[in-house]
Symmetry: C2
Subunit: 412 residues, 2 copies
């Protein structure tokens, strides 16, 4: 089959959202207004970049676009590095291809059923930073770990608190999570007894920055390509014993799972909302002229029971503020940098993003649809996080799922 | 010039250390018992791997060895990934080439004067972890920041406390360090007024490990290739305000400098010493049957005045224990992972590894040879860290220097 020539970008269609000739996209996470990027392997050639549409993966590397060389690779990094003009140009071309019925016959052969391919880690993670941007989460954790003390540290409303995590153990959805061993206290070594999740939103950097030069909050979209869902698996007993004074380490670094699809910021225009009012007013470098809150609602499911629905729109610090803070000291960005929101917790009990909060440190079991109940994760449990945001023209932008099943601790 | 054929490895010469035909190596950091690896650029072809000998860089990629393909690259990672058998084989071949006078005429053309080449970052840093392994340092910091409280946290003698730093801002010696801006407290944003250094020893991972499988302390030399010196530049005011509860972040992430030469563990056999006695006995996974303390003494110099001489042999936790801890939860290693000791401070006042300790949080200026005094770093200051360890046959193993000059904060 000869790949079709891809049209030059055209001006946006007037009126509602463009309709795609691909069938069955309506109910899926991936309408034509989404077009997230990932990496897949289908046994027919090396792993390469694909774009999700409905229940299909578009084999975009095989189309005749100016970007074929970077799309033919097993990681998005080359494409991410091209920057916003290229991102917009390819998005426009793909929209045209998938909406103009003229291309139906020539493009259809380049759609692979998503069920028939393997989705891989979408990009090589450069540095991974995890923030702590939810006020409800920070307050809940403080009440549990430091009862009687003020719920927020003096720095919390002054800057987005964050720390570096382990880039090398960021894994794609579906990767099993081996229960970690560690020191749960003095003379108490063994498998974690408090295995938890944190439901988060992650942001993927495309365009690097120069060492010594901060990136302004308003330059967010000039550097960040898109959004993934993220599960920051946590071993609460290991974390608690190790964490003072240098922060979380082995309680987190055994695995961080991300969704296989990176949803472009361009697909989230309709989801952009102002963040919550901030008081005190943040330092000038943390101010943005554009709203970068996201009306993105997560669902966290364990073995089929939806446990909680964390609302990302309630995050106190937006991703644009997080990026500005991350680079305020002149730290350089690299293509493939990943930074995440920290646990997304809303103000209600059914909106918290961790079992620590949901079960009040394991003291209050939650009911399962199957009839039982749970506190911390047991071996064999499967956790799945999904996300949903408004897309253009009344469509719904999904994120696929980030899922993982707990395996027993290795012997030893 | 045709590169010489490189001999097969031969059995070690009996008696003392092998003598090299390269002149002037006696007083240098790089006797033939050292043979550290780095990456250089000389304008004649792309950057590639080199080996230091005396005042020269051996253009090892151009020699006819079985490793030419990985040595022809601008980072050590390919060679690092080959593992201990290849490392030992190439070391043996190079020793033969540089000691047998038979090779003098053919090898000499492949020596570049070190002064004529540019030394680059020797490897692509995968993940960077910084430990806190010096008891004197942890105690000193605690006395300064938390006076009246116990000098060590309950976890400190149970496990090597550590955290992840920013891999993307690890820079090679010579890179200027721009004074970072940041929040020094509530409503107090500006250039750091407490710019500091931390003199450390860094360890470079060659052989990766599998996610979910811990690496034992005794497998240290099967994974770690060698040692660099490291300056963990620190902005103490920014660090102090941000650090509770998730640890240091922007107070560290603006720059971490490393020496351009990675000294192989094989060059440090004579420097291996038992670590200090440990009480309580560490958990089984932290026990080693081999001594992995290093008799390595650092010197820290500012604008020509030697300020302090930190002794790495006093570190409470050895690098083998640090590696075992880092992976105890199943975290995978990647080629290019870098982990560092944390500030090396000895028990005496002239052995501490930071200005924080040396000047007691800036309250006690130290005298300079030039007649003045200093507390924190001023713009224009140049800090240089060197190291020295016993090598085989009475030689001295040096590490080159890790140096950096402070540039004024960017406007803004």
């Amino acid at each position: 089959v000869t790949p079709p020539a891809v049209p030059e970008p055209v001006a946006n269609h007037g009126g509602g959202p463009p309709a795609t000739w691909v069938e069955g996209t309506e109910e899926s996470d991936f309408p034509v207004t989404n077009l997230p990027f990932g990496v897949f392997s289908d046994g027919a050639g090396p792993a390469r970049v694909g774009v999700a549409i409905g229940e299909y993966v578009l084999d975009v590397a095989r189309l005749a676009t100016p970007y074929a060389d970077v799309l033919e690779r097993p990681a998005l990094n080359g494409f991410l590095a091209l920057g916003p003009t290229a991102w917009a140009d390819l998005r426009s071309r793909l929209t045209e291809l998938l909406t103009d019925p003229e291309y139906r016959c020539t493009v259809r052969p380049w759609l692979r059923a998503m069920a028939d391919v393997e989705l891989l880690l979408p990009f090589e993670v450069a540095d991974y930073v995890d923030f702590y941007a939810s006020e409800a989460h920070a307050s809940n954790v403080s009440r549990i770990f430091r009862p009687g003390q003020p719920p927020l540290q003096p720095n919390w409303k002054r800057l987005p608190v964050g720390y570096h995590g382990r880039a090398g153990t960021v894994v794609v959805s579906g990767t099993p999570v081996v229960r970690p061993r560690g020191q749960r206290g003095p003379d108490d070594y063994g498998p974690t007894a408090k295995l938890d999740i944190e439901a988060e939103v992650g942001f993927v950097v495309g365009v690097p920055s120069r060492l010594g030069t901060p990136v302004s909050a308003d330059a967010f979209a000039a550097h960040v390509f898109g959004v993934v869902l993220l599960n920051d698996w946590s071993a609460r007993d290991i974390q608690r014993f190790e964490t003072v004074p240098l922060g979380p380490f082995l309680g987190k670094s055994f695995a961080t799972s991300i969704s296989p699809w990176v949803v472009p910021l361009a697909a989230l225009e309709a989801a952009r909302v102002p963040g919550p009012a901030q008081d005190p007013e943040p330092a000038p470098y943390l101010r943005t002229s554009q709203p970068w809150g996201l009306d993105l609602t997560l669902t966290v499911e364990c073995n089929g029971t939806v446990l909680t629905r964390p609302p990302a729109r309630e995050l106190y610090w937006t991703a644009a503020q997080q990026l500005a803070h991350l680079t305020a000291n002149g730290a350089a960005l690299r293509t493939g940098d990943l930074f995440a929101s920290g646990t997304v917790s809303g103000g209600r009990e059914d909106q918290v993003g961790s079992l620590l909060e949901l079960t009040v440190d394991g003291t209050r079991p939650v009911a399962l649809d199957s009839g039982g109940s749970m506190t911390w994760l047991a071996d064999g449990d499967t956790v799945t996080i999904r996300g949903s945001a408004p897309g253009s023209g009344g469509t719904r932008i999904g994120f696929g799922a980030v899922t993982g099943t707990v395996r027993p601790a290795a012997s030893g």
